[in-house]
Amino acid sequence: MSGRAFGTQTPAAPPREKEHVLPTEAPITPSPFAEKVRGPVGRSCDKIDGVERVTGTKLYGADLIAREADLHAKVVRSEHAHAEVVSIDTKEALRVDGVLAVLTAEDVKGTNRHGLIRRDHPVLAKDRVRYRGDAVAIVVAKTEQAAAAGRDAVKVEYRVLPTVESIEQAMAPGAPHLQPGGNVMGGRRIRKGDADSALADSHVVVSETFRTQTVDHAFLDVEAGVARWDGELLTIRVSGQWVHEEARLVALALGLPVERVRIIQPAAGGAFGGREDISIQIYVGLAALRFAGKTVALRYDRAESMRARHKRHPMRIEYAMGADREGRLTAAKVAIYSDEGAYASTGIAVCRKMSSHATGPYRVPHVRVDVFGVHTNNNPTGAMRGFGATQIAIAYEGMMDRLAAKLGVDRVEFRRANLIRPGDAVTTGQVVPSPTAVECLEAVLRQYGSKSMPSEPLPTHLRRGWGVSVICFGMGYGDGFPDASRARVRIGADGCVEVYSGIVDVGQGAENVIAQVAAEEMGVGLEHTRVITADTHMTPESGSCSATRSTFFAGNAVRLAAGELKEKLLDAAGELLCVHPNELEFRGEEIRGRFDEGLCCSLGELVAAARKRGYELEAEALFKPRTICEDFETGQSPRAFITYMFGAHVSQVLVDVETGEVRVERHVACHDVGRAINPEAVRGQITGGVVQGIGMALMEEVVYRGGRILNPGFTDYILPTVRDVPPVECVVLESNDPLGPYGAKGVGEPPLIGAVPAVLSAIYDATGKAPATLPCNPERVWGMLTGS
């Protein structure tokens, strides 16, 4: 190999390719691709920008502020969970030394609204505030201290309204209406067969009410960034998860044509769904519009981040499930009440995800589900890793354990007997393309069984147990929601393959995946690939980095674009070699005749020649597979999702039955990810998801009182430390998804979804009591065990 693929210059700092290392101790299930690993796809390779991330040179939003800010903005937020805004007095604030402006709703020239699905969230509240994070004014000042002092000096007069604190209060007769349509926003339903009759006829029926908690994304890199208006273009550099949508939302809210809003993603320190809703982009953009030519900065601290941002939906899930004498599931009847908080956010879609995943990876002939999204004066709830599929998995897996116990059968056997097999349908009636639930279960049990349980006798107050979960997850937005990715691939001036994609890398390694796909498709080394992402004015729209879709969608778009570019190159080669392009083919970094070995030119020569002849060495492609919107009466859809991912977990815990403390001793996770394009990154997603799952199962909880968050910081919003999690044993199950890029599906969300119910199942096994309320912190477990 010549050392370079195209052109003549050598790019700097080639990323190192790695061995296809197997996970620590955990055996990898034989991959259908084992023999095919040649190019970058299927290899663990170092993070493209790994050096920047470990040397501290990667710039995150707050780092831009330290370097570039001319002015600073702060947000004035509601002091009440629910109130009318009577007046806003800015005089005092404007007198604060250094304060330059105080902006209110009057200063917002556009719709003054945002929201990913419903545009119901005011940028700056004008007459009413619905939660304590609602913004009412923006203060701009010369220094951050002055902006903070100005913020504290803005006097807002409120007429306090009754606070709706909970789902129960919101649904009570006479509750104040928080949104024009009332407090219950359009729920979603499933009507499949006749669940009521089937339950009545069942041999056993088990009912349980599950309560899940409010969870915060708690990414470490709090919202921060800068904006600048040059008179023509408003450039905003803030981390999000979907730059193009953010540009649209900013443009709408502020009354600018979308072409005049440029969003550039700085490095993002985690997201997990928490950057899906717009955060500071509009505020900082609004402030920048007022001060042309100045770079305006805005950042939250942890408390403001928690106070302002949406959360994971807390839910009450009333679940009844039946089985026949042979241990086959007969029916499920589910009512879900979900606290949507003050605004819709992505709540409607979360409601649908709950209903479409209501019976998980199990065959259930009769299903009735009703989901009610209920507005309260708590924080809006929206996207967080799992997107509703997390909460419902806690319920259906909880039911599997309870039903098995009631039937007196083994909980693993019971699952095995009811998991969907090829040809079976999930809750939506969709026959899943390649169900691998059983394979995941077997693989996770094999790994768990490879080590024996500790045999030392336990003191009387300690109990050990293990639990199991099997889950499924529909990839992408699904249900007919427009879902597409574009990408552009070109040969750069230095001969490198340049990949342009609007996809956002939030830290998980999306940039690596698309670089690997492009390099593989173009037949070049990864060191000859350069990735440009997430800039609305540089990169084609790729949709959001969410829904476990980045690998599948952005990867496919890049693959298609690279394929187009190869065709163009073959055209050029045909002209150069005076044959029909169909006579030619790529072989590594050369083009040769299919039938005539004498025909040959290197890619470098070809590119040089093509340039001379004026060929545009660039191709763009669109990947837009269709899903089908469900029937709103029945919730059924033959193709609700493009593909499904499956996973199974086993968790082993030690429970102190006197104090309620729980320690996870082992955790094994197996996921079908399709092709693992970067196995190390896949394992990174699995282990990280498991830790977040353990956090949700055991400790994380946003506590409200009267709409006020009582624990808006890391002293009391408890996250798992290295001492709370065992080394996660990952089993990567590879399969070949027919539509996925090189057979890949994705991996982001399922590991968290599988982890939570496995931990709960283990607590049940250890103590004989099945948890139904999260998190299982010491007090709750103690309460469950003592009936207190």
Binding site: A13, K18, T24, S44, D46, K47, G50, V51, E52, R53, V54, T55, G56, T57, K58, L59, Y60, A62, D63, A66, R67, A218, F219, L220, D221, V222, A267, A268, G269, G270, F272, D301, R302, V506, G507, Q508, G509, E680, A681, R683, G684, I686, T687, G688, G689, V690, V691, Q692, G713, F714, T715, L719, T721, V722, R723, V725, P727, V728
Partner: protein, 161 residues
């Protein structure tokens, strides 16, 4: 000793270089490093000592720079992520953090590397427990910690042959 209103003369060493600055001693060391010296590799995340993102090494000990006042750094030797390696020559920890995939979003990474470095510098033969203790107050929300522990073990092996 000495008192002063507003600005203060701070003399310290940062990454081996002497630093002389007129600063308000009441700002935190984190703010001083990030906003005055533009050493933005040190990150703030919780500002209450619960996450370790802002860890730097002061006179050989890992501390949370969000909880130390700039004035308390008087005369101290401070080491930050920028001082231990760069793209031309990575520190063993930096190298292994990349190699094991221990840096996903990378936001916690500088703090973790500094916490680990302080331990490796001070402890020639750490036990498995000590590897863990060194990073027990550093929150990583992405990776699940094991790749981080592995990176530190690998770096230790490299450093100590």
């Amino acid at each position: 000793m000495g008192d002063s209103g507003g600005a203060w003369h701070l003399s310290c060493t940062v990454n081996g270089e002497p630093v002389e600055a007129e600063v308000d001693p009441r700002i935190t060391l984190l703010t001083f490093l990030r906003e005055h010296l533009l050493l933005t590799g040190t990150k703030g995340a919780c500002l209450e000592g619960e996450c370790g993102s802002c860890t730097v090494i002061v006179d050989g000990r890992p501390i949370n720079s969000c909880l130390m006042l700039a004035g308390q750094a008087q005369g101290c030797s401070i080491q930050t992520i920028e001082g231990i390696g760069d793209d031309k020559k990575l520190h063993a920890l930096q190298k292994h953090f990349i190699a094991t995939g221990a840096a996903q979003c990378g936001y916690c990474t500088p703090g973790l590397i500094m916490a680990a470095k302080a331990m490796l510098d001070a402890n020639p033969s750490p036990t498995e427990q000590e590897f863990t203790t060194a990073i027990e107050a550093n929150i990583c929300r992405c990776t699940g910690y094991e790749s981080i522990r592995q990176a530190i073990r690998d770096a230790y092996r490299e450093i100590h042959g």
